[in-house]
């Protein structure tokens, strides 16, 4: 995008996100919804196969999960909602209609706060969150004779699917990505979905248009599909924005159409579906409406956890953590809760020491802990080291029982074995040396063995001190209290001068 064009047009993006809900049974039948690694066509019953004579029954958990999501997205929950039939014959749609929600969805009018680096957060409108059912999975193949055909696996047919329709409030591909990241984070926080784009349980279609900066009317809109990762969404939207910019700059108009994202190629016009799109929505006669009283809505709201934004702000205020650290700590609910358990394990200490401990805990969690988890491919819930032990280890450092250098070795051993810090310290012989005689003896040995640096220091070269500290640490295998060592070392250097 040229800089002139970048300022000439405003990009307008709205996202439609489909999320598979994590329920035990499917949306309208008793088949297990957990089909991820299943043999094809083994999670199928007369209902999700749409045999003659079957009827749907609404999965209560799916309704609750949708309402919970809507509440987390600041939506209002109408007292009356219903399901409708959306008619479109297609081989992957077993009944020939999808049970969805048309004019009276479970929720409407919410928002999500999105932040792009170095810009103030913006509220992106949520049009509605509604509930429907997933289709079966079609795979396209070509046989040896060149004949193309499709294979149908019904396992996905009827899995609860939540659609989150966003307002066209997003203004850049980066912001679109940030919206998706935030949405996924919330869905995982509240535990309604695995929300994994690569696994297909979090899917995104985008509408994108350009308009002259300052204009209020929307430009012709292009729907972009087939994006299988956050990066693909960002890249596809960037590509499409540039394509539209070039077209507009060349005086061409934008065709309202559907385009598919092809990795390495760009967005490609998709031939419009044969036959007109006329979904002929009408109320689903097999399903009575859903009515929710204020009390019922509150009962669904009650178990909602503290959401990432609120938690991040609280971490900043309560523990004095910098935004960057608070953000990392609240990235997942599991990490945030682990962190809070570390702090809680040290209860009883005063506010200042609590903040100090929080900083230490944050450093460990963002640093060595995250690195070790990543290296071993573990999630924080799988870690062998308990929050209480991490807290105890931090206390050992604070109390001067082990040095900061030793703590790294202790932590690594705790991470591998899951053993308590005191035992690890004893076993590794890493108790800190703080007796002044012992420190003096080590310093004497170091000074005797390093005449040249000693002379340089005395000649005014301050950097030599650092070298001598390092030598003393090596001599003590890191067990020396750094402050006490420096004090003793400088005193002795001065004394012999």
């Amino acid at each position: 995008m040229t800089s002139t064009s970048a300022t000439k047009y405003e990009t307008v993006i709205g996202l439609e996100v489909h999320v598979q809900l994590q329920t035990r049974r499917k949306m309208f039948c008793g088949c297990s919804a957990d089909y991820a690694d299943a043999v094809p066509n083994t999670h199928v019953c007369p209902v999700c196969m749409a045999l003659p004579g079957v009827l749907p029954v609404i999965n209560e958990k799916a309704v609750e999960s949708t309402v919970m999501t809507a509440l987390a997205l600041n939506c209002s929950i109408p007292a009356y909602s219903k399901f409708d039939r959306k008619n479109y014959p297609y081989p992957d749609l077993l009944k020939g209609y999808q049970i969805s929600q048309y004019d009276l969805p479970l929720s409407e009018r919410g928002w999500l706060e999105v932040e792009v680096e170095e810009q103030p957060p913006r509220r992106i409108g949520i049009t509605r969150v509604h509930l429907e059912e997933d289709t079966a999975r079609l795979t396209h193949k070509t046989d040896e004779a060149g004949e193309s055909y499709s294979l149908l696996d019904l396992n996905r047919s009827g899995v609860p699917l939540m659609e989150i329709v966003g307002e066209p409030d997003l203004r850049s591909p980066e912001e679109a990505r940030a919206y998706l990241v935030k949405l996924r984070q919330i869905l995982r926080y509240i535990g309604v979905s695995k929300a994994n784009m690569e696994e297909g349980n979090f899917r995104c279609d985008a509408n994108i248009s350009l308009r002259p900066r300052g204009a209020t009317a929307y430009g012709a809109r292009v729907e972009v599909k087939n994006m299988n990762s956050f990066r693909a969404v960002e890249n596809a939207l960037r590509f499409e924005a540039e394509r539209q910019t070039r077209a507009l700059d060349a005086g061409a108009s934008i065709t309202q159409e559907t385009r598919g994202w092809v990795e390495g190629e760009g967005t490609v016009s998709q031939r419009s579906k044969e036959g007109a799109d006329d979904y002929r929505y009408f109320p689903e006669p097999d399903l009575p409406p859903v009515t929710l009283t204020a009390a019922q809505v509150e009962a669904i709201r009650a178990p909602l956890p503290e959401l990432p934004d609120a938690r991040r702000r609280r971490f900043e205020q309560e523990f004095g953590l910098p935004a960057y650290e608070a953000n990392l700590l609240t990235e997942s609910r599991a990490r945030a809760e682990y962190f809070e358990r570390v702090i809680a394990a040290g209860a009883g200490s005063g506010d200042a020491s609590r903040r100090k401990r929080a900083r230490a805990a944050a450093n460990w969690m963002i640093g060595d802990f995250a690195r070790l988890l990543h290296a071993s491919g573990l999630e924080i819930d799988d870690a062998r080291i308990s929050p209480a032990d991490l807290c105890a280890m931090i206390a050992l450092v604070e109390d001067g029982a082990i040095s900061g250098t030793s703590a790294k070795a202790v932590f690594e051993e705790m991470f591998q074995s899951g053993r308590a810090p005191a035992a690890v310290v004893r076993e590794l012989g890493l108790e800190q040396i703080s007796g002044s005689d012992e420190i003096a003896a080590i310093v004497d040995r170091v000074l005797a063995a390093n005449e040249k640096p000693v002379a340089e220091y005395r000649a005014g070269k301050q950097e030599a001190l650092k070298f001598l500290v390092g030598q003393a640490m090596r001599e003590s295998r890191g067990r020396l209290n750094a402050a006490a060592l420096t004090e003793t070392l400088t005193a002795k250097l001065r004394e012999k001068a």
Binding site: T23, R24, R25, G30, C31, S32, A33, V39, P40, N41, T42, H43, V44, C45, P46, M49, L51, V57, I58, N59, E60, K61, A62, V63, K82, N87, P89, Y90, P91, D92, L138, T139, H140, E147, S148, Y149, S150, L151, L152, D153, L154, E274, G275, A276, D278, R280, F282, P283, P285, L287, P288, P289, V290, T291
Partner: protein, 95 residues
């Protein structure tokens, strides 16, 4: 109320039904006739009347989130006109 051949073809496409030429003309004429009789509805005042989609005043009929066994794969495939290695098979959807 009279509908034309184009409308019949459009509706047949939406409903995914192949019609013969004779059927197209027959349905055009019969549907026109039937729709003509629906004018009687115009005589009923429905201002302020709520539509009835379901006759019983039921609401919130839910199933608890418990899964049950599915059909054996063989039972599913046995019904299908064409199968292929555990899948149902159809001609290419993308034309």
């Amino acid at each position: 109320m009279s509908i034309d051949r184009e409308t019949v073809l459009h509706i047949a496409k939406l409903a995914r039904i192949a019609l013969t030429d004779d059927e197209i003309e027959l349905f055009r004429s019969q549907l026109s006739d039937i729709l003509g009789h629906f004018d009687v509805l115009d005589g009923i005042d429905t201002d302020g009347i709520e539509p009835t989609a379901q006759i019983l005043p039921l609401e919130n009929v839910f199933a608890p989130d418990v899964s049950r066994p599915s059909l054996p794969q063989a039972e599913v495939l046995k019904l299908a006109p064409l199968t292929d290695d555990g899948y149902l098979r159809v001609r290419a959807v993308l034309e």
